[in-house]
């Protein structure tokens, strides 16, 4: 049909989030950055507003508003602060893993009770590697034994359990992949010191080391007939969230630049009236739009239940590419002030880099897109 119109209820949610993001996230972002995390109070507030579950199905305590609403909410939150948006979403990634890979019993137990979990996507020296993990899983006395290392795990140390992907036989590709729930107190699991990243400091990430970690067979996420398909649906959701945060971050830098350029004077007029600056602002506006339309279309397709892996990857690459450029240009618009921590744009430039690394590098996404192109 081609309609970009937001429904009333979505607009209402957007308005609520916008206020929350402006008052609590934008105001508190430097503090959270310095502290390397967010307070429990703000996580609670985020949950009380109903924002942590709105895209989930009703039977699991959600509002069934779908990924369209989710990406709109995440754009607003990241407009407040991208790092905090990721940090307050303590159970979000794991909820998606349960939704797409868990059995009904697992969903019931972990989703409905609002427990905190996270997904360990990465391994050292590797690209995002759900389908090709080096972490090994061996069947052992009615359960599983896990050995390996996972890095850049979001909210590591702050959650109750982790979703870990490992392989029983690396020669079998996806066939050999198992997704397991690992409780935080499992013997053999160590959580490293928080990472010192280029940006997104408010989001705690760390390395997990799994040495002969044993979990019972009930911890196998076995609700999806195909692990591969479940994992792809999981990645669709996660990539949409990351792309939405990227768009929100880009918009933050864009809007701040517009405001600053209208105030700052040079050669007798606001710098926004000098064309070199005005054109940078125009380009930011063009690029934010370009990323948002792709994001919305990808979310729309995912909500329709389509396998939109390529469209989602495209939305993510577009968002990351655009955000990288916009945040760098924002520093340029502010000149010397852009380099100084009294102003937010230096932070956004760092956050953009971190966000794009955390969401899977553009090269990896591009190969995924290219494979889809070639297979068509």
């Amino acid at each position: 049909m081609i309609s970009f119109e937001l429904d009333e209820d979505v607009l209402a949610v957007q308005e609520t989030v916008r206020k929350f993001a402006e008052s609590e996230l934008r105001e508190g972002m430097r503090e959270a950055e310095t502290a390397g995390g967010v307070s429990d109070a703000i996580v609670t507030r985020y949950r009380e507003l109903g924002l942590s579950t709105l895209e989930l199905p009703e039977q699991h305590g959600g509002l069934d508003l779908g990924m369209i609403t989710k990406v709109i909410v995440e754009e607003e939150l990241a407009f407040g602060d991208a790092g905090m948006a990721a940090a307050i979403d303590r159970g979000g990634l794991a909820a998606y893993a349960l939704l797409e890979l868990g059995t009904d019993a697992q969903k019931k137990q972990h989703l409905t009770e609002g427990q905190n979990g996270t997904v360990a996507f990465w391994e050292p020296g590797q690209r995002q590697s759900l389908g090709d993990p080096e972490t090994t899983v061996t069947e052992d006395g009615g359960g599983f034994r896990i050995n390996g290392k996972k890095c850049l795990v979001s909210n590591a140390g702050l959650v109750d359990w982790y979703v870990v992907f490992g392989t029983v036989d690396s020669s079998r590709g996806w066939e050999g992949v198992r997704a397991l729930l690992v409780p935080k107190d499992a013997p053999g699991l160590t959580i490293g010191e928080p990472d010192e990243k280029v940006g997104l400091w408010a989001l705690r990430t760390a390395t997990l080391t799994l040495e002969d970690v044993h979990v019972p067979k009930e911890n196998l996420l076995s609700g999806s007939a195909s692990v591969r398909e479940g994992a792809e649906r999981l990645m669709n959701r996660v990539d949409l969230v990351n792309a939405a945060r990227s768009v929100g971050l880009a918009r933050a830098a864009y809007e701040y630049s517009v405001g600053y350029a209208q105030e700052r004077q040079a050669f007798g007029s606001p710098i926004a009236h000098h064309q070199a600056v005005a054109f940078m602002l125009a380009d930011m506006s063009i690029l934010v739009d370009s990323a948002r339309v792709m994001l919305w279309q990808a979310a729309f397709l995912v909500d329709k239940g389509e396998n939109a892996r390529k469209e989602v990857a495209q939305a993510l690459v577009q968002a990351n590419t655009v955000t990288s450029k916009i945040t760098i240009d924002a520093v340029q618009v502010l000149g010397g002030a852009g380099f100084i921590r009294d102003y937010p744009v230096e932070k956004w430039m760092r956050d953009a880099r971190a966000l794009s690394l955390l969401s899977g590098t553009d090269e990896a996404q591009n190969l995924l897109i290219a494979d889809a192109i070639m297979a068509a």
């Binding site: 081609i2 970009f4 125009a282 063009i286 370009s290 339309v293 897109i369 290219a370 070639m374």
Partner: protein
């Protein structure tokens, strides 16, 4: 509700036009580009199928002061979908489709019923011969700076006398009539601008040079000369009543045309980009064993992925601007966003396609080479990329839209 998929009806339009593009346009594209001649049978076919002027969205504008009497619902969306498809076939040929062309919207928006009848009658009544309308704004001394036109109009009894030169006018020479913009008094700026319906037999109207161009070579680009050109006061678009108080109407006429046509022009750039991309992609599929673990594979794969992604983004921006147009939401920023982004993507994609394919002189190479030349002008006409950025930055400095 957000819905970013085509309906069956939209899909049908797309398929129909894609079929036309593939079977009627592509086969003659290279030859038309080489000779600059568009075969008459082709023009007739576009008329028989009712495509005449279609791509430029003529006669779909709302009646002045009667917002409820719109063109068919969703006309802007259908038009961008169609523009992309036809430009995928050949952009120069679209500009040559018989019909009022860019001259259509100003007549529809601001013409009196009598003027509309006079301008559009010929397209309705003569189904045997191709006819065109055209839009003559640009002058040697005023392109981007359209407010600076110096073609003059002077009242003389029941007539106006026009003097000046217009340049780069698409179909200007073959057109039955041109919408010609002129000024009553250059010192008074936009308020003094007037638009006239100038028929080709008007005394004092003549055609100058026909341009030889980088691309869109099958499309006619003409210079028009107005030497004491005499037109009746009934040829003043909108009639004299429209101008009783000092207003910017004339200029608005020019600008209104752009808000509606920019997304269509943008969609044409998307169509050209897609054509180049698809040719390149298929060529790569045939010529490379892409599973070879050579670095070159990754390079090319990455390029193809970027090309497809950017085309996709550009298309959605066109859709958005058109959707806003259909809903009567002010969209000049979005129209400019779609136009500037699509033109850039078009240039990037066609350049990359040539880079990937090299040149071997085969049909596919010649097509891509032509598309590379054709797309450049999309960053120039209907407002250069820079002018789009001026429009966009003005809008955002007036107040952010999110």
């Amino acid at each position: 509700m957000i819905d970013l998929e085509l309906t069956d009806a939209q899909q049908n339009v797309r398929s129909m036009l894609n079929w036309f593009a593939k079977t009627e346009m592509r086969p003659i594209a290279l030859e038309a580009d080489r000779t600059g001649v568009v075969p008459l049978p082709f023009l007739k076919k576009t008329m028989d199928l009712g495509l005449a002027g279609g791509a430029m969205g003529d006669m779909q504008a709302p009646e002045e002061g009667k917002p409820e009497k719109k063109g068919p619902k969703g006309a802007n969306r259908i038009a961008v979908i169609g523009s992309e498809e036809l430009a995928w076939g050949d952009a120069a040929l679209i500009l040559t489709f018989p019909g009022p062309g860019l001259g259509g919207p100003p007549v529809t928006y601001t013409g009196t019923p009598e003027q509309k009848e006079r301008a559009f009658k010929v397209f309705r009544e003569d189904r045997e011969n191709p006819h065109w309308g055209a839009y003559a704004l640009t002058e040697p001394g005023a392109g981007s700076d359209v407010a600076n036109i110096s073609t003059t109009c002077r009242k003389d009894g029941d007539h106006y006398i026009l003097n000046g030169r217009k340049c780069y006018i698409t179909n200007g020479a073959r057109a039955d009539w041109n919408v010609v913009f002129a000024t009553l008094d250059k010192t008074q700026g936009r308020a003094a601008h007037r638009a006239f319906l100038v028929f080709k037999d008007a005394p004092g109207f003549s055609v100058g040079k026909i341009e030889d161009k980088l691309g869109l070579r099958a499309s006619e680009t003409a210079e028009l000369v107005l030497e004491d050109c005499r037109v009746h006061k009934n040829d003043l678009l909108g009639g004299e009543e429209r101008y009783t108080s000092a207003s910017k109407e004339g200029f608005r006429t020019a600008m209104k045309t752009f808000d509606n046509t920019r997304p269509l022009v943008a969609a044409m750039a998307v169509g050209i980009a897609r054509a180049a991309y698809e040719i390149c992609r298929d060529w790569v599929k045939e010529n490379y064993d892409l599973k070879r673990p050579i670095p070159r594979y990754h390079l090319i794969a990455e390029k193809l992925a970027n090309m497809e992604r950017e085309i996709h983004a550009a298309r959605l921006l066109c859709w958005k601007a058109a959707w806003m147009g259909d809903l009567d939401i002010p969209n000049s920023r979005e129209a400019s966003v779609s136009k500037s982004y699509s033109a850039e993507v078009g240039q990037r994609v066609t350049t990359q396609a040539i880079e990937i394919m090299g040149y071997e002189g085969t049909y596919h190479h010649r097509m891509v080479e032509k598309l590379f030349r054709d797309v450049k002008v999309f960053d120039i006409f209907e407002g250069t990329g820079q002018i789009q950025r001026i429009v966009i930055s003005r809008r955002i400095l007036q107040g952010l839209t999110r």
